[in-house]
């Protein structure tokens, strides 16, 4: 390349001053991007916003599955909200849901991490066998998991045989605890896989340096492993919370929300109102509460992830 050509390129290149005119530290908006976003927005509107808006509207009506207001139904304002405020079953159900979710998160994270940590140290063949068994439990359909746990925890089941209390009906004696354990059992495999991957990504140098510095195992876990695992744990907590919130099948198979209302979590209470009591509108309103709870988890996740 000749000197003339180089000078010509320099002349036609954007001036340094021009480059400064375009701010790269501020969010820019390009109208053309709207066209590119349209298909995604269309899908979002059809599959989420419109059904969600309709569900919110239904929650404020008197629509029933059968009965006089199944055909001639209409907007009733805050009537269902007022009812919900004084509906003791709803508040009991909300509390039950909270216990079920919190218990599931605690169990899944602790057991999932424990298994992942142990399998890191295990021999390869053992890792394959134990890992495989746990993952099978995770992949099992809710119906199968529910029936397995039902058979194991009622009188004459595996729990009774193992504990020597043959005719004890664990499921009916402690229903919420048992369905929470069943949920933990079915989700631990997922947690173990994710935690295992995250553990393998922790730099060995950091652990080795801590060992050299005489850090105890607890200090290594608290000061190195836990901070590095934080994004993974948050993701697992959120997903377990959302999956547990929507876990209708497992409890329906095991207890149908009973005995009494002992395991009647919000999805089951919503179903009961909509399809057993025919109150579609009130069932929709309870469903909307579940969406709000799920949204809170979602927002928390996004904020914590962004901060991380």
């Amino acid at each position: 390349m000749t000197v003339t050509a180089i000078l010509s390129d320099v002349a036609t290149a954007p001036h340094v001053g021009d480059l400064w005119k375009t701010r790269h530290d501020k969010t820019r908006f390009q109208w053309s991007s709207l066209a590119l976003l349209t298909p995604a927005f269309g899908l979002l509107a059809v599959l989420f916003l419109i059904p969600m808006g309709y569900a919110v509207y239904l929650g404020l009506t008197n629509l029933t599955l059968v009965g006089p207001t199944a055909i001639k139904w209409g907007f009733t304002g805050t009537q269902n909200l007022v009812r919900m405020k004084s509906d003791t079953e709803f508040w009991t159900s909300l509390w039950t849901t909270g216990f079920f979710i919190a218990g599931s998160i605690l169990g899944v994270v602790v057991i999932g991490y424990g298994l992942a940590s142990l399998l890191m140290r295990a021999r390869p063949w053992m890792r394959i066998i134990v890992g495989g068994i746990v993952v099978i439990a995770w992949m099992m359909p809710a119906v199968t998991a529910g029936m397995t746990w039902y058979a194991s925890t009622t009188g004459g089941g595996t729990f009774g045989t193992l504990t020597g209390l043959h005719n004890t009906n664990f499921l009916d004696n402690a229903p919420l605890l048992i369905v929470t354990l069943a949920n933990i059992w079915s989700m631990t495999g997922f947690c173990m896989l994710v935690m295992g991957a995250a553990l393998r990504n922790i730099p060995s140098e950091a652990i080795e340096a801590a060992v050299v510095e005489n850090a105890s195992p607890w200090q290594r876990f608290r000061l190195i492993v836990l901070p590095l695992m934080r994004p993974t744990i948050i993701a697992v907590v959120l997903l377990v919370a959302l999956l547990s919130l929507a876990n209708f099948s497992l409890i329906y198979i095991m207890t149908q929300g009973g005995p009494g209302t002992a395991t009647n979590i919000l999805p089951l209470y919503s179903y009961e109102q909509a399809f057993t009591f025919n109150n579609l509108a009130y069932g929709a309103l309870i469903g909307n509460v579940m969406v709000i709870i799920a949204s809170i988890f979602g927002v928390l996740y996004v904020r914590i992830a962004a901060r991380s």
Binding site: V66, G67, G258, N279
Partner: protein, 465 residues
């Protein structure tokens, strides 16, 4: 020739007039005329594929048989069978959704009697008084069954079979317990005394099966506590003004009976009572295994032991088992709930379709078909004369005949959305007593009142003194 011409002219005018009148009639008649003998009519018939008959294949066979017979008799009508899959709650949801849209509403549907008032209040059903007045079989229904679909003077649905409840007992176990056979308790105390004797003589046997809890869905109470309520001093569930009774001497009597049974350790374990796996049918397997003494159970248990149903097949059941009426609390007569499966014609059906649906019912209600349905679905046929026909009595002897005799003592269950809530509350408190036998009848009734009032509001419930 003139005369001939005149006659021909008259014939032509008369013929033209007839043709014109017929044309006008066809034009004005619209849909009705298209139902003429030569026009094709299609009707849809919806039924529960997996819940009404004792086994799904028996249901498929019966519906296929009736359709075949009907289409042979009425070649201009095509029947489209809509077999709705799933359990009873799934069926009811699907049927409600089918009715919701005019194009999918079944011309004829078979559904539980507890849904009649709900569908009628939604204007889904057509009154069938005129049609029923012309049939020979409806006249043979006992009054209680005739009135099953009667709402404000109109009959919206007609029974195809009924379930009632009585006492089954294992003769060998009762003999070991020192109870004289045939056993017919006169009061509720007699039942408790017999159960206590069984517990003493055969400690490993469940003395008395009383359905409790919510596992069996809304029907569970109908096979359990509502029978005690039906035999109590105040059996009212819903008042004439539509209010649900949440506190009454009768409810207290029934709940106190439950309390006595479970507090004395006479009832079945909750692992069986709360089983989501078909709890009302468990007595048939427990009796077969010799682990149950007495059961308050529905008529279909006897049919369960037949070869066709095999739940399980037990050839000796006819001699090993006995049946007795469930006495009332006062000892006067027997008590039982009554619930059936009924046919209803869609209010959206055209005149031609309604006629075809009525004709379809006539075929379905022919004696052989009605008894086959009774035998295969575990129903007492609604036609009284069928209760002594060998085709019915021999199918599950002596149970079928005995439950036919008990049917006139039965009372219908209400049909309303509020009843669905009330019955859920009743099942919950019966389950509470079974699980925590220290719960007294009064405590359980207070729970019932709290639950139903919370769900329906104070204006929808009432207390009877």
């Amino acid at each position: 020739m003139k005369i001939m011409k005149k006659a021909s002219l008259h014939k032509f005018i008369a013929g033209a007039a007839v043709m014109a009148m017929a044309g006008t009639a066809i034009t004005l008649g619209g849909g009705a005329m298209t139902a003429g003998a030569s026009s094709k009519v299609t009707i849809s018939v919806a039924y529960a594929a997996n819940t009404t008959f004792d086994t799904t294949p028996l249901g498929t066979t019966w519906w296929g048989q009736v359709k075949k017979e009907f289409e042979a008799q009425y070649p201009n009508v095509t029947v489209k069978l809509v077999a709705v899959q799933g359990g009873e709650p799934d069926f009811l949801t699907k049927l409600a959704l089918l009715y919701h849209t005019a194009s999918t509403a079944p011309t004829l549907a078979q559904f539980p009697s507890t849904e009649i008032a709900l569908y009628a209040s939604t204007d889904y059903l057509m009154p069938m008084n005129k049609y029923l007045a012309t049939t020979s079989w409806f006249k043979e229904y006992p009054k209680v069954i005739q009135n099953e679909g009667l709402i404000k003077g109109n009959i919206y649905a007609v029974s195809s079979g009924e379930n009632n409840v009585g006492l089954y007992y294992d003769k060998a176990i009762l003999t070991k317990a020192g109870i004289k056979l045939p056993w017919q308790p006169k009061t509720w105390q007699d039942i408790i005394t017999a159960a206590q004797a069984i517990k003493k003589a055969e400690p490993k046997v469940i003395p008395l099966w009383l359905n409790a809890g919510t596992a069996a869905g809304p029907n569970g109470a109908g096979y359990g506590i509502l029978n005690m309520l039906a035999g109590s001093s105040t059996p009212t569930i819903q008042t004439s003004s539509g209010k649900m009774v949440v506190s009454s001497p009768g409810i207290l009597q029934a709940l106190n009976f439950y309390h006595t049974v479970f507090a004395d350790g006479l009832g079945a374990p909750t692992s069986q009572l709360f089983s989501p796996n078909n709890a009302p049918n468990i007595p048939s397997t427990d009796f077969f295994k010799g682990t149950l003494g007495i059961a308050v159970s529905a008529n279909f248990i006897g049919g369960n032991w037949t070869k066709q149903v095999s739940f399980p097949y037990w050839a000796q059941a006819s001699t090993a088992m006995g049946v007795a009426g469930l006495p009332t609390a006062s000892g006067k007569g027997y008590a039982s709930t009554l619930s059936g499966w009924d046919y209803g014609i869609s209010s959206g059906a055209s005149a031609a379709q309604a006629t075809a649906a009525e004709n379809f019912m006539n075929v379905a209600q022919e004696s052989t078909n009605l008894i086959d349905a009774g035998n295969w679905a575990g129903w007492v046929p609604p036609v009284q004369s069928d209760w002594t026909v060998p085709l019915y009595t021999n199918f599950a002897a002596p149970f079928n005949e005995e439950f036919g005799k008990l049917l006139p003592y039965s009372t219908e269950l209400p049909s309303s959305s509020n009843y669905n809530v009330w019955v859920q509350g009743m099942e919950q408190v019966s389950g509470t007593i079974a699980q925590t036998p220290s719960t007294t009848g009064a405590q359980a009734m207070a729970q019932l009142k709290q639950y139903v009032t919370n769900q329906l509001g104070p204006s929808e419930v009432t207390t009877l003194k």
